[in-house]
């Protein structure tokens, strides 16, 4: 099935509405990093990721490992779009007994491949999945999404080094470069500088894109899909809180739920 960029943009917009709705209902969550990541996630699920809603644990599915697991509303919104979740599932986000846990968790939610919540671990997990795919002689692809603040974690660089050494060509990392972390702007907390050249110095192949331009997103995914023996990174420049004016580029909305008035404003902007 070929899906147009316009359809993907519409899907991402529906996801944005649900992201804000579920965080408002939970009175907690992380809107900023969900909204910065959702165009990338939509592009991936809409055009590339191989999975089976009727068989979530299908061995040969592509993996999508959401290392920045606090942006779980983005995942729940896309899993609703593709048929893994009902609206009632994600509207119980963060509530006792909900299959939509605060941070994405493979034990709780069909369609989730990793139990996240502690930053810096997802790429290592993805590397484990990459080894397994090679051992199985499978061409399934392993996608990992990390945040830019997350690149401050030392373990991530252990995995970047190991992925190079082991020629993990089936491993693809998407960096959501939204330039804001929990406390403040990345530049104020611990600037990470020229990520592209840092990754290239580890012999990763890197493509830098606008993470809200669906055409660029799809082109970069097609580029990353090809396994030439090198791990690949899509360095996506994004805007934290993208799509809702008062959340955009606002560190306050890293981990704050909108109130009733803000929900109303957000819905008006997104509709």
């Amino acid at each position: 099935m070929i899906i147009s960029n316009q359809e993907l943009e519409n899907m991402a917009n529906r996801c944005r509405i649900n992201i804000v709705k579920m965080i408002h209902a939970a009175k907690a969550g992380h809107p900023g990093g969900s909204l910065s990541a959702i165009d990338l996630i939509t592009g991936l699920y809409g055009t590339s990721l191989n999975f089976d809603v009727n068989n979530p644990n299908w061995d040969d599915r592509d993996r999508f490992i959401m290392s920045k697991g606090h942006a779980s509303p983005a995942i729940y919104s896309i899993l609703h779009e593709v048929g893994f979740l009902e609206e009632s599932d994600f509207m119980s986000f963060r509530k006792l007994g909900s299959i939509c846990q605060g941070h994405v968790d493979m034990k709780w939610t069909n369609g989730v491949d990793f139990s996240a919540g502690s930053l810096g671990m997802g790429l290592s997990f993805g590397l484990g999945c990459s080894f397994a795919a090679k051992l199985d002689d499978s061409d399934r692809k392993i996608w990992v999404m990390v945040g830019d603040g997350e690149t401050q974690e030392g373990q991530l660089w252990e995995a970047i080094m190991a992925a190079d050494f082991h020629n993990a060509g089936n491993l693809k990392m998407i960096i959501d470069r939204n330039r804001i972390q929990n406390d403040d702007f990345v530049s104020k907390q611990m600037e990470i500088g020229d990520l592209s050249n840092k990754l290239k110095s580890f012999r990763w192949e890197v493509k830098e894109i606008n993470g809200h331009n669906m055409k660029e997103i799809i082109e970069s995914i097609k580029w990353a899909e090809i396994d030439n023996g090198r791990p690949k990174a899509i360095l996506a420049n994004t805007i934290k809180g993208k799509g809702i004016s008062f959340m955009e580029n606002n560190p306050s909305f890293h981990g704050m739920a909108p109130n009733d008035e803000q929900l109303k404003l957000a819905m008006e902007e997104l509709s």
């Binding site: 061995d59 968790d105 493979m106 034990k107 491949d113 990793f114 139990s115 919540g117 502690s118 810096g120 671990m121 997802g122 290592s124 997990f125 993805g126 590397l127 484990g128 999945c129 990459s130 080894f131 397994a132 795919a133 051992l135 199985d136 030392g154 373990q155 252990e158 995995a159 080094m161 190991a162 050494f165 082991h166």
Partner: protein
């Protein structure tokens, strides 16, 4: 022809078991530069395609193990016991929480590792891994039991931590008695009514020696190899508590949180018998020979003998 050795180091048992487990194509070995020490090197030599070198980067190794396990593989990841602790939160959040079948082996555990000094002597590993839901925690007493227990791990549903040790000690088992070993079941090595000594790791052979000394003095001793610290064989603990009415625990590990603590936690709810704990008394070690260190740490056979008498006196 020489007779079989009566000495063995548990790390060798781990290495031997990995080789035997290689018949299962899902078994994958992960190393963090210390394969020659943990003895996964034998597997590497025979099965390089199923051995993954991750360099001196333990945190990454733990999550690589998790990723492999999530894809149906059965990873065995080893390094020194102390360096597994560097990846504790990775094991906690990445392996134990999703309950993945990944098996961590920490070799060179305890004070017994000797002259490398306190930075290398893990005295808290059993305690910290015991706190994790889903984890099985194992500390074998010799090479034969380590081999047998490692063979059983491949069928375990969930993650595990096994502590092995560097140096050879007198064997607890032989080719026949090792057949009685089962994960989660303490092994009764000697049976007597006056006092029960429950030990793990290198302290099992010392407990057997202590029992001989006590027996010569007319004291009848039960000795148990409690190789599985979690899940604890509470049925056996209840039984010896009722029978002997006093217990000595012996471990090359802090008295805080290890085998002694596990038994005391259980007995506080069931059978309040006196318990004397032989273990490291809330201090770090230093360089020295194993036996010299055991002297200054009060981890000797004689310390077990004395603890048995003190425990009996408190009945």
């Amino acid at each position: 022809m020489s007779s079989p050795s009566i000495y063995g180091a548990s790390r060798d048992g781990y290495g031997n078991a990995l080789l035997r487990l290689a018949a299962n194509p899902d078994v994958i070995v992960l190393e963090a530069d210390l394969g020659k020490s943990t003895k996964s090197c034998h597997f590497r030599k025979e099965y390089p395609d199923r051995t993954i070198s991750l360099g001196i980067a333990e945190q990454n190794m733990m999550l690589v193990a998790a990723g492999l396990a999530s894809s149906g593989k059965i990873p065995f990841a080893s390094t020194f016991a102390i360096f597994t602790e560097r990846g504790f939160e990775q094991i906690r959040n990445g392996i134990a929480r999703p309950g993945l079948n990944a098996h961590i082996c920490g070799s060179h555990g305890g004070i017994h590792t000797g002259s490398d000094g306190s930075s290398a002597q893990s005295i808290e590993d059993l305690a910290i891994y015991r706190t994790l839901p889903n984890m099985t925690v194992i500390h074998p007493s010799d090479d034969l039991s380590a081999e047998e227990l490692t063979m059983q791990l491949v069928n375990l549903d969930g993650p595990s931590y096994m502590r092995t040790i560097r140096n050879k000690v007198q064997r607890t088992y032989d080719a026949k008695t090792k057949e009685n070993i089962k994960i989660g079941k303490g092994n009764v090595i000697k049976s007597g009514d006056d006092v029960a000594i429950v030990a793990c790791g290198v302290m099992v052979s010392k407990s057997i020696e202590a029992a001989k000394i006590l027996n010569d003095e007319g004291i009848k001793v039960t000795v148990i190899d409690m190789h599985t610290i979690k899940p604890l064989d509470t049925e056996l603990i209840d039984s010896i508590s009722s029978k002997c009415k006093c217990i000595v625990t012996a471990e090359d590990h802090s008295v805080i949180g290890g085998l002694g603590s596990a038994i005391a936690e259980h007995n506080s709810k069931t059978n309040l018998v006196p318990i004397e704990m032989i273990g490291v008394k809330d201090r770090f070690g230093e360089s020295g020979d194993s036996e010299e260190l055991f002297e200054i740490m009060n981890l000797t056979t004689l310390d077990i003998v004395n603890a048995a008498k003190e425990s009996m006196a408190r009945k």
